[in-house]
């Protein structure tokens, strides 16, 4: 029972973690992409469709990653090349993604999907309590952990990561030093898109292998909140994602037990928790000021 709950928490946390880690890289480069929800839902519909057509969940995942990255390029072109307002453009990406995905996925509604197999590491997965949790998961769970570690290493231990953070903190100085601000931001945006696409595929291939229009249910926005909650640090994103996974699974179990609280009110708990957590983290103004990338959301037009 307990082990089962832990497992489902991991399943609920993984898509949040993947999307949030991607967005963290984008925001560290100084770009605020509010289109996570849109890119995620595009990834979900693509992953579902391709897996259904080919029978291979892996091809679905691959296609979702590519579609996520390509879709984010649209955002990149507008905000980076045409210097449009990032908040409005991100919203546009979300609205367009939800619209397009609804249209593309119309024929998928009600079809049984392809589910990704679990990976059991022989021997280790039989360990009591933690065996299944750490060594008997779906493959994307491992991807999400490696991704978090990789991003943490990249950002804080490599020169390229330092460059990316310097752009996020002061794009004018970085430009003056000869760093290609726009090019690097394009790459960061596409990485974020790829991650959001992957997170979407996780929803439609692992979490609930089926398609419906509202399947992202605000997870893209929760991922954005997680980045703020984690004060732009990868391992804290992981902690946050599991906290939210716990809240959403907890309310599901509470619904199943029938504790007398209406299911709709329980379902709104993850959203309320997001608000509460955002309040707790941002009430400390100095902490937020220190951690927020200083150029976040600011337009940049290179002077020549």
């Amino acid at each position: 029972m307990f082990e089962g709950i832990l497992l489902t928490i991991a399943t609920a946390a993984t898509p949040l973690l993947i999307a949030a880690v991607g967005e963290l890289v984008v925001e560290r480069s100084g770009v605020l992409n509010l289109g996570v929800e849109g890119m995620m839902v595009m990834g979900a519909v693509t992953g579902f469709g391709v897996a259904l057509a080919t029978g291979s969940p892996w091809l679905g995942v691959l296609a979702a990653i590519m579609v996520g990255a390509l879709f984010s390029l649209l955002f990149g072109f507008l905000t980076l090349t045409l210097v449009t307002n990032q908040v409005a453009t991100g919203l546009a990406l979300t609205l367009l993604g939800l619209g397009l995905a609804g249209m593309m996925g119309e024929s998928f509604v009600g079809l049984p999907g392809v589910k990704m197999d679990y990976v059991y590491i022989p021997g280790l997965s039989d360990l009591p309590m933690v065996g299944r949790l750490f060594f008997g998961q779906d493959p994307l769970f491992y991807v999400s952990i490696v991704l978090t570690g990789g991003v943490a290493y990249f950002l804080f231990k490599t020169r390229a990561g330092l460059t990316l953070r310097s752009i996020g903190d002061n794009h004018t100085s970085a430009h003056a030093l000869g760093i290609k601000v726009i090019a690097i931001r394009y790459m960061a945006v596409m990485f974020g898109g790829a991650c959001a696409g992957l997170a979407g595929a996780y929803l439609s291939l692992v979490y609930t292998p089926q398609w419906n229009e509202n399947m992202t249910a605000g997870r893209g926005w929760i991922a954005l909140a997680l980045v703020v909650f984690a004060s732009w640090r990868p391992w804290r994103v992981l902690a946050g994602a599991y906290l939210f996974g716990a809240v959403s699974i907890g309310q599901l179990h509470a619904q199943a037990l029938g504790i007398g609280v209406p299911s709709q009110l329980l379902s709104s708990l993850p959203y309320l928790a997001t608000v509460v957590v955002l309040v707790l983290i941002s009430r400390n103004r100095r902490l937020t000021m220190v951690n927020t990338p200083a150029s976040l959301g600011r337009p940049f037009v290179p002077d020549r």
Binding site: L82, G99, V275, R304
Partner: protein, 366 residues
């Protein structure tokens, strides 16, 4: 080839006026391409979307019904966006306005008097404004990002409505359908000109609100305050304008208008509460606000355009079998093109060939 932006010496008034039209044109072209990809005749599809609904009087009434909430919400959002407050939770404020406004007709159906309707509208406004006050308060008091909090509250409001109509407020004589009792005549927003169609007073409210806010923005000190605090908070502080008061002002006005839109929709067009009372008006209104260039008069026109796309979506579904999901893709594309075209107002765009770019770089390196 590379794209370079060259800052104009001043805002281009020409492109400020033209950009929404260029964006609409580009959306039509993109839409035509989309329809041919779907295997439909683009000319026929666009005809059903944008011409057919305009051909009959009853259909124009339907247009007004759909435009009313869009305009009401979007003029409120324009105050928010002009003052740099990103309220994207209008959908939730719409829902809460509808719920609070429905207290009288649902819980006291026997209370029938001329005063019921005005009270309902006031309660709707109060409900929407109170719900919008939450992200405003959190932003002012705790420095919390209003984008995320206002959006999260949308989900909460929708779930709450779902619970109300399935639980405590379910119609006792409704055969277990998830809906409230239907509103009495005293609680129904009257039609404006019932001889020719269904359009109700909601549309009149929308036009009045747009004109009032246009006057406020362009002719009063408060309007100036909105613009100054939006463009330069520092200058606003020196002028003695309060940033916190502006946050509340923007959220309360937009929340109140969204609430009014909600109760007008329920009382005028639907006649009862259901689990879903909006086809995404709160989000489409964001597109309306930008398409109208955040100018309340422009928003009236933009609201009619988006309302037409909703109606056209229904027409095209019936006549040529295009899914009604296409509408939202259309609306999303429109916002993209609007934002891209707005770049032309501040910048000239120059296409630089790679060879030319190399020459420029070479001269710079010398």
């Amino acid at each position: 080839m590379r794209i370079e932006l060259i800052k104009r010496p001043e805002r281009s008034a020409l492109f400020a006026a033209l950009s929404p039209f260029i964006a609409l044109g580009l959306t039509l072209v993109a839409g035509a391409i989309m329809f041919s990809l779907l295997g439909k005749s683009p000319v026929e599809a666009l005809y059903y979307y944008f011409i057919d609904p305009l051909r009959e009087v009853w259909s124009l009434h339907e247009l007004a019904i759909k435009a009313a909430p869009l305009i009401l919400i979007a003029v409120g959002l324009s105050i928010c966006y002009l003052s740099n407050n990103w309220n994207i939770g209008a959908e939730g404020q719409f829902v809460v306005g509808a719920i609070v406004g429905s207290i009288l007709p649902v819980m006291f159906p026997d209370f029938q008097s001329w005063i019921v309707l005005p009270l309902m509208l006031l309660m709707g406004i109060a409900g929407g404004a109170a719900y919008a006050a939450i992200p405003a308060y959190l932003k002012v008091r705790f420095n919390t990002n209003e984008i995320l909090t206002s959006l999260m509250l949308v989900y909460v409001a929708q779930l709450f409505l779902d619970w109300m109509v399935r639980g405590p407020w379910r119609n006792p004589a409704g055969m277990n359908f998830p809906e409230t009792r239907t509103f009495s005549a005293a609680a129904t927003l009257p039609e404006v000109w019932s001889a020719s169609g269904r359009a109700n007073w909601g549309f009149v409210f929308a036009i009045v609100a747009a004109i009032a806010l246009w006057f406020m923005l362009s002719r009063t000190l408060k309007g100036f305050e909105v613009q100054v605090l939006g463009q330069s908070p520092r200058a606003g502080r020196f002028a003695g304008f309060s940033q916190s008061r502006m946050v509340f002002f923007a959220f309360l006005v937009s929340g109140g208008l969204a609430g009014l839109a909600g109760i007008s929709e329920v009382s005028g067009a639907i006649g009862q509460l259901r689990p879903t009372i909006s086809p995404g008006y709160g989000f489409a209104a964001i597109i309306v606000a930008f398409l109208g260039r955040l100018n309340p008069l422009g928003i009236i026109a933009a609201g009619l355009v988006l309302a037409l796309s909703y109606l056209g979506g229904e027409a095209a579904q019936i006549s040529i079998g295009v899914s009604d999901k296409v509408v939202r893709a259309f609306q999303g594309m429109l916002l993209f093109f609007v934002l891209a075209c707005d770049t032309l107002i501040l910048y000239r765009i120059r296409f630089v060939g790679t060879s030319a770019a190399k020459t420029v770089e070479a001269t710079q390196n010398v």
